[in-house]
Subunit: 206 residues, 2 copies
Amino acid sequence: MLVLIPFKPVNPKTRLSKVMRKNERENFARCMLLDVLDALSSFDCDIKIISTHPFKIESYDVVVDSRELDDAINSRIEGETAVIMSDIPLINSRILRRFFESEGDVVIAPGRKGGTNMIIIRDRKFKVRYYYCSFLRHLEFAKSLDLKCTVFDSFYASVDIDTPDDLLELMIHGEGKKSYEFLYSIGFRIKYEKEPKLVRISNTFP
Amino acid sequence: MLVLIPFKPVNPKTRLSKVMRKNERENFARCMLLDVLDALSSFDCDIKIISTHPFKIESYDVVVDSRELDDAINSRIEGETAVIMSDIPLINSRILRRFFESEGDVVIAPGRKGGTNMIIIRDRKFKVRYYYCSFLRHLEFAKSLDLKCTVFDSFYASVDIDTPDDLLELMIHGEGKKSYEFLYSIGFRIKYEKEPKLVRISNTFP
């Protein structure tokens, strides 16, 4: 299987700007990507990182493509292709095994707010359409092509890290992940109130 | 299996007060409970609704208990007991089958912000402890008792409906659910922008 992972190494995750500096966000994005690559490491698949800018990460295959995300992905779909977001560090090999074994011409793991965090495409007629509630657009597109579409139900695959609220999820569930260790190292902690909160104990920010 | 469902029929879901009136919130909470009961209907289990106030719903067994949630639940754990929240209308029988078949002395389906949306307890030594990041507290408590604890990974079980953002999840994923139909009937719609938004088209609110 071909696995495409879109990645933005430069000034990523701008919605975290209020709690993390630019260089921290860049390090953090890299850690999340490494967590996703770790989860994939036990599978025999051909991984391609589609990066907006030149970027090196271990010996992985990185292709620079500055086009819109849809074009960068759709031009590379061939045979059985999965697209996995680089900001879902809570996935692991058990989740991916269940995902890869799911039946359907198209298999979608939804994120919050109508996102498509992971997708498997087993029919070349299908194309991705990110944004504007991609989850529903993907379901409709598959239906219009008469393709069988399966929804893959996973909490950990649903948690894409965009906002400080999402960081809290990573602090709660991510022990052992590189991205968790990074957050911990720069001072993020859980504050235990009736509903837990995210705090940053380091007094060096901003 | 005994299934306990805590429920608050009077003035529930106060965090939705900015978008729904009190009577609407009460109707909505009832619809979500019905969706959860529907998902359970194909299983042979003994269902008890633990209600804060007197309340009737079809021919279900309702027990009024105004104590703290932990006490109301812990005093009723016997044999294999599941506790399922009444505000997770996106669950269905497929998810519940996978849940009920999960191994472990304790099985936890996490919600966002460290919640425990569904739990199976197969050892009477274990007690629930809601609030203050119950997910981590439950993991720790099971560990301290040397019990095997399994995390059940489900997006649809993770979506408990507390805030307007959560309503958006129900509008995206809930077609066919009673709670979805209710939201639709009072004017809630998805507005398709780059990131989808929740809107209420009815001009009769507030």
